[in-house]
């Protein structure tokens, strides 16, 4: 279980003075059974007091405003966490019972928001065509189906930076067959919901000695297996998750969990840089 020190810096520049900047930051990881948060904080430059609240999905949200004129805004999120691999799901239903349970009214009501269309994830003919093409077998139950689905999406959609934008619709990703983790996550969520499996978007960080390049802000998904619970799967790196995914926030899709969201008055944006540094700390004595 590595202990990780994480620093996520967002730096924004404006073409002139900006005022009345009001923002929400979703970069404070949640303490859960899998991720233990030792320390987490958000600092802002120009200096601003931050206040904290939970959103509708249970995410920690830091809110701040900078009223005075400024031409540069820096938001630093820092955290020290211990992440471990998710535990195996314990199934109380047989595979056929799991599929049947997806249609149970109480199940549908309880997880309705993760089955309904959302801003970036909605039913589309292109997604339905991809589902038919993948034709993932269902005999092994919902968990096996989800792991196979993630593998199928990973095999079908090539990871390529720059091919899509953050707001690229899911049907375009299904048609292009290219994208980044956001696109793969949205597409997998769409395929899950289309089959009646509740699914949600996870925003977080990914670190691993085997992963090339700098650490990243990353996205994967959670899908609900009837009788067992939420299963984390990463269509960008299919297979069972290890302890290198640090879960920060969940929502119906990216629109619910952007790392930084807000608005301001003044000159238009002139640029944004985002850097994520993750360092493995020595094991605690």
């Amino acid at each position: 279980m590595p202990r990780l020190s994480i620093r996520h810096r967002t730096e924004l520049h404006y073409a002139g003075p900006a005022t009345e900047s009001v923002n929400e930051v979703r970069l404070v990881p949640r303490d859960s059974g899998r991720v233990i948060v030792h320390h987490a904080d958000v600092t802002v430059l120009p200096a601003a007091r931050t206040s904290s609240h939970m959103d509708a999905f249970g995410n920690v949200v830091r809110w701040f405003q900078v009223v005075d004129p400024h031409e540069r805004l820096v938001v630093d999120a820092e955290a020290i966490v211990t992440a471990s691999a998710p535990g195996r799901l314990v199934h109380s239903l047989t595979p056929s019972e799991q599929w049947a349970a997806l249609a149970h009214p109480a199940f549908l009501d309880g997880l309705a928001e993760y089955l309904a269309p959302s801003v970036y994830v909605h039913p589309a003919p292109e997604v339905a065509a991809l589902a038919r093409e993948l034709d993932v077998p269902e005999g092994g139950g919902v968990e096996t189906w989800l792991l196979d689905l993630a593998q199928g999406v990973s095999d079908t959609v090539a990871y390529e930076k720059g091919a899509t934008a953050v707001d690229t619709p899911v049907e375009v990703v299904a048609r292009l067959r290219r994208g980044v983790c956001q696109d793969l996550a949205h597409l997998t969520i769409a395929l899950c919901r289309m089959r009646g499996v509740p699914a949600r978007y996870v925003s977080g960080w990914l670190y691993g000695p085997a992963i090339e390049g700098p650490a990243e802000s990353h996205a994967w998904i959670e899908a609900h297996v009837p009788g067992a619970g939420w299963l984390e799967i990463d269509p960008t790196h299919p297979g069972r998750l290890d302890g290198h995914h640090v879960r920060v926030a969940v929502g119906r899709d990216y629109a619910d969990v952007p790392p930084l969201r807000g608005s301001y008055r003044g000159a238009p944006p002139a640029g944004m840089t985002v850097s994520v540094e993750i360092e493995e700390l020595p094991a605690a004595a």
């Binding site: 003075p17 009001v22 930076k161 953050v166 707001d167 980044v180």
Partner: protein, 334 residues
Amino acid sequence: MMLARVALAFFSIGRDVEGAESLARLMEVGHAMAVETGLANGTAQASVWQPVMALSGLGGGAPPAVDALGALALPVIAPEGRGGVQARVRAARDHANAVRDLLPTDLWESLNEIHLEIADWSEERLDQAGVYAFCRSVRRAANLVHGVADQMMCHDEGWQFLRLGRSLERAAGQTRLLDATVRAGLAARSATGPEAEVRALRALLSSAGAYYDFMRKVSVSIEPDAVAHYLVMEARSPRSIRCALNEVHDSLAALAAAGAIPAGSAALGAARAACGDLDAAGDVAADARLRALLETVLARCDGIGAAIDTDCFARSPDGLRGALHAQAEHQTQN
């Protein structure tokens, strides 16, 4: 000090709810006029619906080729843009959502309920249930919101901005309505006969929401000069231009006293000047002088709106208009 965007949200709630209500009233009266005059089903386009469209701001440019139902459906169904009833109610609700933590729960719930109620009207439902049911629904909803705002909100800066939006919208709307009627030939004591004249005056009073009050307080005999005087000068009637401008002035004065706008605000100066214009006009009759007065008042209202925009909603350090931008909305996750 209240943030500009918060002030704008309160102002817009008042303005958009008032705008939706006045448009519904126009639709209702226009429909009644078309039916009473036997001009429904297409032939009422020029005499009834085009003026309604022009007043609502939905008929800008070339007059749209619409019949009675089309003219009715457009303001109702037009969910995009600022003009339609549904669009204005939705805008008011969106603004309320932006300042939800600053609103009394009663007011937020009222706005949310009327949004859901109005949004539920489709062209088909309008066709089945009728125009009156829709317009009554909008009017009752608007009165509910105004009443809840007045009775449940602290009368602080937020409420003053809401009141300012409502009264400025009403002052400009009533002025445009009277101006359009005068231009249409009311003052010329039209050659269409006394019945048509009375019908037009009744429509004017009803569109202004002042019909029953006028009949009870002024006269059962509807005379053009009395109607014009009542709609412009009767300070005790909340439907008059005078009363609306007084409200605009009083809310701006209260905001200046609270330091929410500059003491030398151009908006306050323009409001004071508009009230002065009415004082100087003396008795009002439905004649050419009235048209000149209405044009002056409309220009004053425009000036007040522009000055409020600069003084209250568009502050920026260099004095230029500050646009609202989304922050960091394109932060890609890889």
